[in-house]
């Protein structure tokens, strides 16, 4: 908040301020923030303060896992009341516990994925992401050129280090420091291909990336307040009310799966999904992290995640990793499976496969 005030001050003055002025402004702004904070938490939803919707009681509540049943009930009733008033429709916040004997796993067929991004927007519809300013999407689809390990005569000579008078040193099969072989150079990856593009393009393959629900999640290790943790189904969840917004987990995540609410989320009331879960898709506040939860408001009640249901080619599979007859276990048993960034030792429960 203080940063924004400073920024607007600078913009209003139209001149670059000195360091002393800057420090003075920081002092004024932080003092203003301190004075304003008790008022802001009590202010009604109509005021200009972006944090206005949150009541004092909600901001003082404890970690959800450590609450007593009565406290949980109160907290959920409070949230339901606030969301119902804010979005003008009856909203339910569930705290359905994790089903027993289930470890959720996901499999995605990258030879089938066509990169249509329907999963991305299904996720937005289901999980109440902010639609604009900030626009938040939990799934990102990478478009990667198809490479080939060509042993054609004209390519055999390329990619080797140049020979010098000291001799030929180094063995490098295909590609060089600038162009990797196989088209897997991160510079070739396109995340922002336009919306009218006809997909699939035969020269590319597509890899959607979302939270990999690691068995050893680095984000959980990084969280200083244990607001994010691994639930009994193996899904990494966030208590949005306990999150302090330090974004350490975002830095720790090797997959870029976590998103931060830089501003007050904008969800059109007519599009808002009123069936929510405390750890899942309930509307978030400004300044908290969010990420894919395998749609736990659905999966805990037996239904498939929204991204799976949206996929027009059936590239996505979801199931119980502890059940040998589940789709995911059959895929792991019979197909060529890899995990993304396996070398990070995060042990994802999100499997990419071919075939």
């Amino acid at each position: 908040m203080s940063e924004e005030i400073i920024k607007t001050n600078i913009e209003a003055d139209g001149v670059k301020q000195g360091r002393r002025d800057f420090l003075k402004n920081v002092g004024i702004a932080s003092a203003a923030a301190l004075v304003a904070s008790p008022a802001s938490v009590e202010a009604s939803a109509g005021s200009a303060n972006p944090d206005a919707g949150i009541t004092v009681a909600e901001s003082l509540q404890g970690h959800f896992v450590l609450m007593s049943d009565q406290e949980k009930k109160t907290a959920i009733e409070r949230l339901e009341k606030r969301y119902t008033a804010q979005y003008g429709k009856k909203t339910t916040v569930s705290d359905v516990p994790a089903p027993k004997g289930v470890l959720f796993g996901y499999a995605l067929n990258i030879s089938k994925c066509i990169g249509c991004r329907r999963c991305v927007h299904a996720c937005v519809q289901e999980n109440n992401q902010s639609r604009d300013n900030p626009e938040i999407q939990w799934i990102q689809v990478m478009k990667i050129p198809k490479g080939n390990f060509s042993f054609a005569a004209d390519k055999l000579d390329t990619g080797y280090p140049k020979s010098s008078k000291l001799g030929d040193y180094g063995v490098q099969v295909g590609g060089n420091a600038y162009t990797a072989v196989g088209g897997l150079s991160p510079e070739e990856v396109q995340n922002y291909y336009p919306q009218d593009e006809a997909v699939p393009d035969k020269n590319y393959f597509y890899v959607p990336v979302q939270c990999q629900q690691c068995e050893k999640p680095p984000c959980v290790k990084a969280c200083p307040v244990r607001a994010t943790f691994r639930d009994p189904n193996g899904v990494v969840v966030i208590d949005y009310n306990w999150c302090i917004g330090c974004r350490m987990c975002q830095l720790a995540c090797p997959y870029g799966a976590r998103r931060f609410n830089w501003g007050e989320p904008n969800i059109p009331p007519e599009e808002m999904n009123p069936k929510t879960h405390y750890f899942g898709n309930r509307p978030r506040m400004r300044g908290v992290m969010e990420k894919c939860t395998f749609c736990l408001q659905r999966t805990r009640e037996g239904r498939n995640p929204a991204c799976l249901e949206a996929c027009p080619v059936g590239a996505r599979k979801f199931g119980n990793l502890l059940d040998p007859t589940s789709d995911v276990r059959k895929i792991i048993a019979t197909k060529k499976v890899f995990r993304f960034k396996e070398e990070m030792s995060t042990y994802p429960k999100f499997f990419y496969f071919i075939g």
Binding site: K89, K90, T92, I114, G115, C116, R117, R118, V120, H121, A122, Q125, E126, P134, E135, Q137, Q140, Q190, N191, Y192, Y193, P194, Q195, D196, E197, A198, V199, P200, P268, N273, P274, K275, T299, G302, R303, N304, A306, L308, E309, A310, C311, P312, V313, G314, K317, F318, G319, N320, D323, T325, S326, D327, K330, I331, T334, K335
Partner: protein
């Protein structure tokens, strides 16, 4: 939000009209611009405004996997508990994004043959969206394809010899170049010669259009086994083994008449993610 829009729209229209008038005036000065065109311009802008207000309304005619397979219609308040429609569609491509009720408009898949393999296809709770009600050309009525292909209006073909067909070119553009089976297939290898409302397998058994997998699987066995096992193809509903699921059958994704060209026909992509702050293009990403 709605109130601000309604306040803004008149002012926008006024500005657009004023701009149009200025442009019209400018053109008139330059080279004898006809005032009718100016009116046309204004009408266009009004139409654009109309389109903008319409865009707020949800898209109702959508498609699932194949754009040409048939529309799915959005119905409001199918799940009254949450006020869900049966489907939500993309505003840009009209693709179905989200299912309020995954079993809307479905029927049981019907009996599936046991095959001697280890896949244990579990079809007890399988449902499909029926295809047979959509076998209509030119709104011809409940008899479907048999309305014309009754042996009199259109005589039954005597043999399976490929020939040039002038009808149904929207399905197969050039019947001498059928894009399935690389020249080894003819229409009547799959379509029944005497009952056009049914498919037919190599033994001459009639197969419903709701169960094309029983026909496709006779040749594409490896894919069929994967499909029965739940690896190939799409199914929505519950994730649990043995739970109720809606299965997508072969022809809901693949067009059997052009499958040799595209296993899956190209569709339009949805909108891209927002660029990071401060970036105006992804050229140097």
């Amino acid at each position: 939000m709605l109130t601000t829009n309604s306040k803004n729209i008149p002012s926008i229209i006024i500005v657009v009209i004023a701009l149009g008038a200025i442009l019209a005036g400018g053109f008139a000065l330059v080279g004898g611009f006809d005032i009718k065109n100016a009116n046309h311009r204004q009408n266009n802008s009004a139409a654009n405004e109309g389109a903008k207000t319409k865009a707020v309304q949800p898209v109702t005619e959508c498609y699932e996997s194949r754009e040409t397979y048939g529309a799915v219609t959005r119905i409001e308040n199918v799940v009254p508990q949450y006020g869900y429609p049966n489907i939500k569609c993309s505003k840009t491509t009209a693709g179905v994004l989200w299912y309020g009720d995954p079993f809307d408009g479905t029927i049981p898949m019907g009996t599936m043959p046991e095959i001697n393999d280890s896949t244990h296809g579990d079809f007890t709770n399988a449902v499909v969206r029926p295809r047979e009600p959509h076998l209509t050309y030119f709104n011809m009525g409940p008899n479907g394809c048999v309305t014309c292909h009754d042996g009199k209006t259109v005589p039954f073909p005597k043999d399976k010899k490929p020939r040039l067909i002038t009808m149904h070119t929207d399905i197969v553009a050039d019947s001498t170049q059928l894009k399935h089976g690389r020249g080894a297939m003819w229409c009547l290898d799959c379509h029944s010669a005497t009952n056009r409302n049914k498919l037919v397998d190599r033994q001459g058994n009639e197969i419903s259009f709701n169960q094309p997998q029983r026909l496709c699987g006779t040749c594409h066995g490896n894919v069929y086994i994967d499909w029965r096992a739940g690896i190939h193809g799409k199914r929505i509903g519950t994730w649990a083994v043995g739970g109720k699921k809606r299965w997508w059958v072969c022809t809901e994704c693949h067009n059997p008449h052009t499958v040799q060209v595209n296993r899956f026909d190209q569709i339009k992509a949805e909108s891209p993610p927002p660029l990071p702050r401060g970036m105006t293009s992804a050229n140097y990403e």
